[in-house]
């Protein structure tokens, strides 16, 4: 699987993770280009369905990135997001897709380096897990 470049969708909260991603850019750090960010007002807005749809459309992994625990701009949206990620992980396991393809992470606005590090590590981890298994099925069916 050496030529496999995973596509990771990141749902990033406007207040922390999205800003951290901007800071990573300004600090000229790098992470794999397969990491693609969608902005949300708060991870509390990230619905389980969004995660499912991202995987269904072919993402190899999904990250939900919110503020540090205790620092959510909207009190506890990040905690809700974490609980939803757990539920989606179980559902994915149940349908034969490794739930570890989805993860919740927390970064503060200033943590550009941490964002780059998380994005890289997660992308590598997905790289090791291989492509989203629905891809092969989709090809076979086509």
């Amino acid at each position: 699987m050496s030529d496999f470049e995973p596509v990771v969708v990141v749902f990033a909260c406007d207040y922390c993770a999205y800003t951290a991603a901007d800071v990573a850019g300004r600090m000229n750090l790098s992470y794999p280009s397969g990491v693609r960010i969608l902005r949300v007002p708060c991870t509390g807005k990230v619905e389980p369905l969004y995660i499912m749809q991202a995987l269904q459309k072919g993402a190899d992994g999904v990250l939900v990135a919110g503020c540090l625990v205790g620092d959510c701009h909207f009190k506890n949206g990040n905690l809700r997001a974490a609980a939803r990620v757990k539920r989606v992980q179980t559902l994915l396991d149940d349908i034969g897709i490794d739930g570890q393809r989805v993860a919740m992470v927390n970064v503060s606005a200033g943590q550009g380096a941490k964002f780059a590090e998380i994005a890289t590590e997660f992308s590598n981890k997905i790289g090791e897990m291989g492509p989203n298994p629905i891809k092969q099925g989709a090809k076979a069916a086509a």
Binding site: V7, V9, D14, Y15, C16, Y18, T19, A21, D22, V23, A24, G25, R26, M27, N28, L29, S30, Y31, S33, R36, I37, L38, R39, V40, P41, C42, G44, K45, V46, E47, L49, Y50, Q53, A54, K57, G58, A59, C67, L68, G70, D71, H73, F74, K75, N76, G77, R80, R84, S108, A109, G110, Q111, G112, A113, K114, A116, I134, K135, A138
Partner: protein, 1011 residues
């Protein structure tokens, strides 16, 4: 220029200083429709706040609360941020000042700089690494990751023009030949918020060894050590050898409360809290077994409920507190550790070994305070802070120039913000009637595109070298042109300068564009700017989507141009897909009643009423008693000996004489309904309790507190026992002085105990005030003050010192061995333990004075909370919206609070808070209408199953089930987090911009070709 202009026509304010106080004052004023010039002598806004990793008492990181403000202050059209700029002269008078300002060259083009840090690394004179905060003096300095503006600057005094930085700067942003620019600004008022400086421990090197020993840090340096953005990247290591510190000592009053040379004699007021916060944070997040010890003389947690924070640190979290006089810090060669020696409470010498020493250093006046004061033509106090007055706490000696924040003295954040709002209120009184700048009437009518196919324009900005080197512009532009719905693709040459924006507006009308994608910058930094630009072209602000191909593509994938170009196309495609489904967010304009109601006619309430009168509509001042003045009626003089009565009488007179204020005494508030802008409050007034309804747009609550009625120490049983207020009355009468041979005062009676764990905050100052007055009337009187901690903020410390010098004896007692009072016939005896002599003393006082607190007027406040749907805090006082960043706001929009209804307050505090509440209210009142255009959750009533899930999950409790049986969300209150939409099981709630179909389209576009 404009010398003939004698009318108040200016709508502008000059704010000096871009710290939290300056930003707050600017933002309040801008919201109230004022033009603001925000000057900052440093390259970026932010002041001290960004240097703090965490802020007490909530111990959270509030950078995100500052950033949007800083961003708005920097980006909003009515605030012009001018970094690297200082005031040269200020001529004219209130209402018509002419300010000459000088902007130093940055030597770096802000629009080009991407803050990559290459110049910093290359500069031979300066830093080797990027260390914000710990190393602010390096020639190029980015203050913190969210710095506004986001660019470096070069300090020419340290630069030898070697040119290394020019070679490494990819975006060619460096221009060493930039020159300084002088400008002349017409303003009606000036707000001075230039802050203070952290005290440098160098002059007291022999005691603290800060320069010699790397493991001796100041508290601000320690903040950086704990910060994820700091030099260790969030790893908890001591500087000398990188070891994980296990024993940390905080030395309080480092350079404060001292008469030693190089130190300051005043109390720096906030260092106790800073140190406790650091100790708690370190223990909770880095080292649970940390031996954290605070070495202190008096613990002074003096803000609202800070005492509870102290007690929690001590009793629950296990921070050690050692009462002593810290002596010196030495280095131990054998272990590499530090040894601190001190003299404890009993006068014994002690020593302790520590891995790290943190100096609780305070703040001192800025180095250029004198120069600035001269430019402004104002007087400074003996400590070079701005000279203010108990009765005019944010005024300077020059009319029209106001001050706030640390320029007035060391200050916590809530204090600074409160003063900033107060100064804003005062400043705006000198201006012409405000213009409601955000009124939609100023803008062309929004076009209606309903039923029309999307015609999308894609605009590329910042194809600067840094992006072009990585992303192929032609490929992206060609790809963009082929996307469905795209009718126009254009490159905007000048990043976001005015020319670029007018080109955008022109293209929109020329090509009948009804949706816009801007590719280049981050929506976080530039979204608002482009949203305003398309609005000016007649498009709803929601018809914009940004593709972040700079920060989230070109800058992070610089090593892989092919992938970066492909990703740029993906991001543009995603933005196009998203904007294709954009629906207009109707801006909601609500009529706003400019009248205000102020409940409570004490100093805070009167200040609020005077602050508002003449700036908005009418003010209804509601007082339940017969007279105005409140608790201040019982005060005779201030700590510095000025009589209170004349000042108070003048204030009452001003209120009564003001035709814009309607005073309703003997009046009770009985009900309250409506929302901000259109409140209706019912009152019962006069002896007949006549019911009447008052319409108003904003509410200020200033109902005060009540005096604690002591049951301790034979109060009420012996005429010699009295409260400080009663003593003050006795002294004012001039009849009691002679009999006062021996006076004993007992502090913390009715506070800091199980029944009332909070601190009375101002009783220490009352005791010192009365002690000095007794000494004044009868110099040979013996006065004992039995105390637990003397809490004398800032310069009141001087009065404390003076009292000691005049022979007042301060004897500490511990709460488990309080003084005892016994009475045998006519003889009363007070027995207490002297810690230094280590024995009990018995005194027969001619007066026993109890220092009792103001306590929450419990039932009244409870009733108030019920009527206005607010909450009470731990001590029964009114709960503010946020103890740190919104100390004067309440959680109910349009309702503000001031004075001792919030916490025991001094005269100056009550006055400041009253003005601040008025200032906050002005941000709404002066708009005349309430315009809401941020996306807020919308409910589709047909789909709603009235399941209550939104009602239960909203972090602010805003949704409710309406009379028609479905969920309703008040757009005036919703903050747009989207939690309700995410939880709604019927998909009945949608958040504009993030609708389900739109998120799906974005996801599909983002992943096109993957499957």
């Amino acid at each position: 220029m404009n010398q003939d202009n004698s009318q108040r026509t200016s709508n502008s304010v000059l704010v000096l200083g871009g710290g939290i106080a300056g930003i707050k004052a600017s933002y309040d004023l801008a919201e109230a429709g004022r033009q603001v010039y925000l000057l900052e002598k440093k390259p970026a806004l932010g002041g001290f706040l960004p240097l703090l990793d965490r802020q007490f008492p909530t111990n959270d990181c509030n950078i995100c609360y500052l950033s949007p403000d800083a961003d708005k202050a920097g980006g909003a059209r009515t605030v012009q941020a001018m970094p690297l700029t200082k005031l040269v002269t200020l001529e004219g008078q209130a209402g018509e000042f002419n300010a000459k300002v000088l902007t130093s060259p940055r030597f770096i083009d802000v629009d080009r700089c991407n803050a990559c840090g290459a110049c910093l690394a290359a500069c031979p004179q300066g830093a080797i690494s990027f260390t914000p905060g710990l190393d602010t003096s390096s020639p190029t300095c980015l203050r913190y990751p969210q710095a506004t503006p986001q660019a470096f600057a070069i300090d020419m005094s340290k630069c030898d023009r070697c040119g290394e930085c020019i070679k490494v700067c990819a975006p060619e942003a460096i221009d060493l030949d930039q020159e300084e620019v002088e400008q002349s600004l017409e303003v009606g008022s000036v707000v001075l918020a230039s802050g203070a400086e952290a005290w440098d421990p160098a002059p007291m090197e022999e005691w603290y060894g800060h320069t010699r020993f790397p493991d001796v840090l100041t508290n601000l340096e320690f903040e950086q050590l704990m910060s994820a953005a700091g030099p260790t990247g969030g790893k908890f290591q001591r500087p000398s050898d990188g070891r994980h510190p296990k024993r940390i000592g905080w030395i309080q009053c480092a350079g404060s409360r001292t008469t030693k040379e190089g130190g300051n004699s005043y109390c720096s007021s906030i260092c106790c809290m800073i140190s406790m916060k650091e100790a708690i944070w370190a223990m909770e997040h880095f080292e649970a077994d940390l031996e954290a010890t605070v070495f202190f003389m008096d613990m002074r947690p003096m803000g609202k409920d800070y005492e509870l924070y102290y007690q929690r640190a001590k009793k629950e979290l296990g921070v050690n507190f050692v009462r002593c006089r810290p002596h010196t810090v030495d280095y131990k060669e054998d272990t590499g550790d530090l040894r601190m020696s001190y003299v404890d409470d009993h006068g014994t010498m002690g020593e302790v070994d520590l891995d790290l020493v943190v100096l609780g250093t305070g703040f001192c006046a800025a180095g250029d305070a004198q120069e600035q004061a001269a430019a402004l033509g104002i007087e400074l106090s003996s400590y070079r802070f701005v000279k203010a007055d108990e009765f005019a706490p944010v005024n300077t000696t020059r009319p029209g120039v106001y001050a706030c924040g640390m320029a007035l003295g060391p200050q916590d954040i809530p204090g600074s913000l409160t003063q900033a709002s107060a100064a804003g209120c005062m400043a705006s009184a000198n201006l012409a009637a405000p213009r409601a700048l955000r009124r939609e009437d100023d803008l062309p009518k929004e076009q209606d595109f309903s039923g029309q196919e999307p015609r999308i324009g894609v605009f590329f900005v910042d194809w600067g070298r840094v992006v072009q080197e990585v992303v192929d512009p032609t490929a992206v532009e060609e790809a963009a042109a082929k996307l469905g719905g795209v009718v126009h693709v254009e490159k905007l040459e000048l990043s976001y300068g005015q020319d670029g924006l007018s080109a955008l507006e022109k293209a929109i009308s020329e090509h009948q564009i009804n949706r816009v994608v801007v590719a280049g910058y981050s929506p976080r930094t530039h979204g608002r700017i482009f949203a305003e630009a398309i609005r000016k072209a007649g498009l709803n602000r929601a018809y914009l989507e940004m593709a972040n191909i700079r920060e989230q593509d070109a800058l992070v994938h610089h090593g892989d141009p092919v992938a970066a170009t492909a990703k740029a196309i993906t991001l543009v495609r995603t933005a196009v897909a998203g904007v294709r489904q954009a629906k207009p967010t109707p801006s909601l304009t609500l009529p706003f009643n400019p009248d205000a109601m102020v409940v409570g006619g004490g100093v805070a309430g009167m200040s609020a009423a005077l602050g508002l009168a003449g700036q908005g509509g009418k003010v209804y001042l509601v007082e339940r008693g017969r007279e105005l003045g409140g608790l201040a009626n019982e005060l005779a003089r201030t700590l510095d000996g000025r009589p209170v009565a004349p000042e108070l009488a003048e204030m009452v007179q001003m209120v009564k004489a003001n035709s814009n204020i309607e005073i309703l005494t003997d009046t009770l508030v009985v009900d309250h309904k409506g929302q901000v802008g259109s409140f209706i409050t019912g009152v019962q007034t006069g002896p007949g309790m006549f019911y009447r309804q008052i319409n108003h747009g904003v509410t200020i609550l200033a109902t005060g507190a009540r005096r604690y009625e002591p049951t301790e120490y034979l109060y009420g049983q012996d005429p010699k026992v009295m409260t400080q207020l009663e003593m003050e009355k006795l002294l004012a009468s001039g009849e009691g002085g002679d009999a006062l041979d021996t006076v004993v005062m007992i502090q913390c009676v009715g506070s800091r105990n199980d029944d009332n764990p909070t601190c009375g905050r101002i009783c220490c100052r009352s005791a010192v005030k009365n002690a000095l007055w007794i000494k004044e009337q009868k110099p040979d009187a013996q006065v004992f003050v039995l105390y637990r901690d003397m809490r004398m903020p800032f310069t009141s410390e001087d009065a404390y010192r003076q009292a000691r010098e005049e022979g007042v004896l301060f004897v500490r007692y511990s709460p488990d061995a309080p003084p005892r009072v016994s009475k045998d016939g006519d003889t009363m005896e007070v027995i207490f333990k002297d810690h230094i002599l280590d024995r009990e003393l018995a005194v027969e006082p001619s007066a026993l004075v109890l220092s009792t607190p103001q306590i929450a007027a419990d039932e009244d406040t409870e009733e108030l909370c019920e009527i206005f749907r607010l909450q009470q805090g731990p001590g029964g006082f009114l709960l503010e919206d946020h103890p740190k960043v919104k100390p004067i706001d309440t959680p109910a929009p349009g309702v503000f609070a001031a004075g001792s209804v919030l916490a025991p307050a001094s005269l100056a505090e009550a006055r400041t808070q009253g003005l601040a509440a008025a200032g906050r209210a002005l941000t709404m009142v002066s708009q005349m209408s309430l315009v809401l255009d941020t996306p807020v959750a919308k409910v589709n009533g047909d789909r709603c199953a009235a399941c209550l899930i939104c009602v239960r999950t909203c972090p602010y409790g805003i949704p409710y089930i309406n009379a028609d049986g479905y969920s309703e969300i008040d757009p005036a209150q919703c903050l747009g987090c989207g939690v309700c939409a995410a939880e709604c099981p019927a998909q009945a709630i949608q958040l504009p911009g993030y609708e389900d179909d739109r998120m799906l389209s974005r996801t599909e576009a983002l992943l096109e070709g993957v499957l």
